[in-house]
């Protein structure tokens, strides 16, 4: 049952999952182009191998002399040039998609929501412009509980910029439904831009080995319609900290360090 649904799911779009951001169209385009080239080539190669194996297999009693030929310049030229063309076409589409994807949303837009994402062993801290922070680490004994996870609240259909900062080792910000990975590397400042279309709750996870409890370094992304988000945001006092769903008053001096961590790179 599960297998059947997974196979059927794979047929449309060659198995690529649906994303929820405005940028994911480029992924589908490239994925489909890759498959339109890859499937015929793979089938051709497999069929040629299969045909040769069947047609030219050694059959006892039917001895035949193997042909001792070598080199055929036209064929050799063809199987050099055609792959070159295919690769060039794929590269052209990819180059265009990559440029378009990294351009959107236009950085000039002044209303971009800027959120700092801090990764640490083994949890996340999301710091909002007013200094409010959402922090959480997982329950290391039971991965099935989601109650302790930190939540990244985002508005739908509005451009968001995430500033990715690692507080210790290399982590990766990965939300499967965004079809996107980006590393948090000490010494490298990464900003990523999103516009999420569909409200909902999405699973996120660190995607780079970062020590013992790497598997538990998860988080949730809650995408809300803009008015709901604004309401939520208005209810968060500046510099307050919400740890694992329980909000508390700001600890003295916390806000400065949160702001300085996240905003040191001129965000």
């Amino acid at each position: 049952m599960h297998l059947a649904s997974s196979l059927l799911g794979s047929v449309s779009n060659f198995g690529s999952p649906q994303g929820v951001t405005k940028q994911d169209g480029w992924n589908h385009l490239l994925w489909n182009i890759s498959f339109w080239f890859a499937l015929p080539i793979t089938l051709l190669v497999v069929c040629l191998i299969g045909y040769a194996l069947f047609r030219y297999r050694e059959r006892p009693g039917k001895e035949r002399v193997p042909a001792q030929f070598q080199y055929h310049i036209p064929i050799e030229a063809a199987y050099t040039i055609i792959p070159l063309v295919v690769v060039a076409v794929i590269f052209g589409f990819m180059f265009n998609a990559e440029n378009q994807q990294s351009k959107s949303p236009a950085p000039a837009a002044g209303n971009v929501l800027k959120i700092t994402v801090d990764g640490f062993q083994w949890g996340w801290r999301f710091v909002y412009p007013n200094g409010h922070a959402e922090v959480g680490t997982a329950d290391y004994t039971n991965i099935n509980t989601n109650s302790d996870l930190p939540v990244l609240y985002l508005p739908a259909n509005e451009p968001v910029q995430l500033h990715l900062v690692s507080l210790d080792v290399v982590h990766t910000f990965y939300v499967k439904d965004f079809l996107y990975n980006r590393d948090l590397i000490p010494g490298v400042d990464n900003n990523v831009n999103f516009t999420v279309k569909t409200p909902g709750i999405y699973q996120g996870q660190c995607n780079n080995i970062c020590g013992e409890y790497h598997a538990y370094m998860r988080f949730l992304v809650q995408v809300m319609p803009a008015d709901q988000y604004n309401q939520w945001y208005a209810n968060q006092p500046a510099c307050s900290v919400t740890t694992a769903g329980i909000s508390g008053p700001p600890a003295p001096g916390t806000c400065d360090s949160q702001l300085s961590k996240g905003f040191q790179a001129g965000l």
């Binding site: 794929i90 990766t172 990975n181 020590g211 013992e212």
Partner: protein, 558 residues
């Protein structure tokens, strides 16, 4: 004790004693031979047996990991042990098994035989490199015996996780030293094999008559010479950080963790081709021999190998697309370009099979297995070479599936070679039934293990996680994958049984059981010390075939 080696004489009527016969000297046997031998064949066998042992050991680690992942929220092993297992599994598979098994194992055994040389250029150096290799393997394994356990940061050990404050204890140091020793072993082998190929060829064995396997080993060895020094220097920096308070990878003091990634992958991507090229060569030899035909585009094949070697020096950062600190178009273009020479190789392999007489025995089946698996790995490689798609799939199980298809493809190639040269190495024929059973088990088990992982990656399962949440739709695919891994294990057991059983009781094979083409089949099985009693004239890239079938010489086409 020393020997001077005579160039083998052409076959002649009158008895002409070889110099070897008249030189007195120790002919050690057993353990003493294993330790002291300078014979390239003994050392090659040492590498092959040790490599196979490493394959089994690291495979058992993989079974441990798959057992941990068979159900969600599992606590079969702790996170700590799981991290050690995947780190050492990856390290041993790449540095101790896949690489040395090909270029040092097959390379040592076959290169002198294939070019008509009596031994390697530096036989004692050769022996030394085996001991460094064994030492590296032992130190990697010794990590498990230390208090904090073996290294836990993955086989590419991204700084700063590898720094002393995040990974204290000797486990990480043993990982460093173990890999560095196998690296030195690789460099010594490279110097040795390159010198052998350049200076010890038989008369008439010009460069463009060497078997494809020898060409591939040559290019591999050049990649080793460039890649391993970079890795060793990166390790020196990391060791200074860990022990002498250096700050190369410490941001607080002005270091750059991403420097490690650049250094490591500058080694790491050529390493992929260091692993792959020898098995490309093995498969080419097996296909040509089992199809009774010359390699279709011999020079095209060499050109493809050379361009893979050259291009592989310019693709290292395609492992780092998601860092946001690399030139995406440059590395994407170079990575996509590598698909072209690889494609040329595929069509050459098909051309070699075309209109031949294909003998469907175990070595050939394993070669076909290699073609199919590697094709799958190559296609997913083209997908991952595109930055936009890599942003989606980076470090997920899709990547795991991709490189396991590549590397298990190479393992199929390695087993093809092992079966193909088994009669030459031991003098005995293996058991076809066990060989075919092993092939079928491996093919089913392997695909069952890794094909579902493509889908797992698309469903967002990150690699290297010790366990996972039950509600993400990953349970059934993981179950399939784990069951497949046990079947793969059975397939390996079947091959090991076959090899051991046939070594003791297989039928005597004879010098040239496959009616093969290249020079190693001109000496007896197993070859004597210093290899050749007599060499046939070398007038093409398949001298033994020419001597046995003067009526079926190569006809050059258009």
């Amino acid at each position: 004790m020393t020997l001077l080696e005579d160039r083998p004489q052409p076959p002649s009527e009158e008895h002409n004693p070889l110099l070897m016969d008249i030189v007195p000297g120790p002919r050690p046997a057993g353990l003493v031979k294993y330790i002291t031998s300078t014979d390239h064949k003994q050392i090659g066998l040492n590498y092959l047996v040790t490599g196979l042992l490493a394959f089994v050991v690291a495979g058992i680690m993989a079974l441990g990991m798959r057992t941990q992942l068979i159900v969600p929220n599992n606590h079969f092993i702790t996170a700590d042990v799981y991290n050690q297992l995947f780190t050492i599994h990856g390290t041993i598979m790449l540095f101790v098994f896949a690489g040395p098994f090909g270029f040092a194992g097959f390379g040592n055994y076959l290169v002198p035989l294939m070019i008509g040389a009596p031994d390697m250029a530096f036989p004692r150096f050769n022996n030394l490199s085996y001991w460094l290799y064994l030492g590296g393997f032992s130190l990697l394994m010794a990590g498990f015996l230390t208090n904090n356990g073996a290294a836990q940061f993955g086989w590419f050990g991204y700084a700063p996780l590898t720094e002393a404050i995040h990974s204290p204890g000797p486990g990480g140091d043993l990982w460093l030293v173990g890999i560095a020793l196998t690296g030195f072993s690789g460099i010594f082998s490279a110097v040795n094999i390159i010198t052998t190929i350049f200076t010890l060829r038989a008369p008439g064995m010009v460069m463009f008559r060497m078997p494809i396997f020898v060409w591939n080993i040559l290019v591999t060895m050049f990649l080793v010479l460039l890649a391993f020094p970079v890795l060793t220097s990166a390790f020196a920096l990391l060791w200074i950080d860990r022990h002498l308070g250096g700050n190369f990878f410490n941001t607080q003091k002005g270091g750059q963790p991403i420097l490690w990634q650049n250094l490591f992958w500058f080694f790491g991507h050529p390493e992929v081709y260091i692993i792959a090229l020898p098995y490309f060569g093995v498969v080419t030899e097996v296909l040509a021999s089992m199809c009774r035909k010359p390699v279709f585009g011999y020079k095209g094949m060499i050109a493809a190998t050379l361009s893979i070697g050259a291009l592989s020096m310019g693709v290292w950062a395609h492992h780092m697309y998601t860092t946001g600190a690399v030139l995406l178009p440059f590395f994407a273009a170079m990575s996509l370009l590598i698909a072209v020479p690889t494609g040329i190789k595929f069509f050459n392999w098909i051309g070699t099979m075309w209109r031949g007489t294909i003998v469907l025995n175990t070595p050939l089946l394993f070669s076909i297995g290699f073609l199919i698996q590697f094709l799958m790995g190559g296609v997913t490689g083209v997908i991952l070479a595109q930055p936009v798609l890599d942003f989606q799939l980076h470090n997920t199980y899709f990547v795991v599936a991709h490189f396991h298809y590549v590397i298990m493809g190479l393992v199929f190639g390695g087993l093809a070679g092992l079966y193909y040269w088994y009669p030459k190495m031991t003098g005995r024929m293996f058991d076809e039934r066990w060989g075919k059973a092993s092939f079928i088990l491996l093919l089913i088990g392997f695909n069952l293990t890794f094909f579902p992982q493509h889908d797992l990656g698309l469903r967002g399962m990150p690699r290297r996680i010790e366990t996972y949440n039950a509600g993400l739709g990953w349970n059934f695919l993981n179950e399939l994958s784990s069951i497949g891994s046990y079947i793969t294990g059975l397939g390996v057991v079947a091959t090991v049984i076959n090899l051991v059983k046939s070594y003791r009781s297989g039928p005597i094979a004879g010098d040239n059981p496959w009616d093969a083409q290249t020079l190693e089949w001109a000496c007896s099985s197993p070859p004597p010390d210093h290899n050749f009693e007599a060499l046939p004239p070398i007038r093409s890239e398949r001298p033994v075939w020419d001597a046995n079938h003067p009526d079926m010489l190569t006809k050059v086409g258009h």
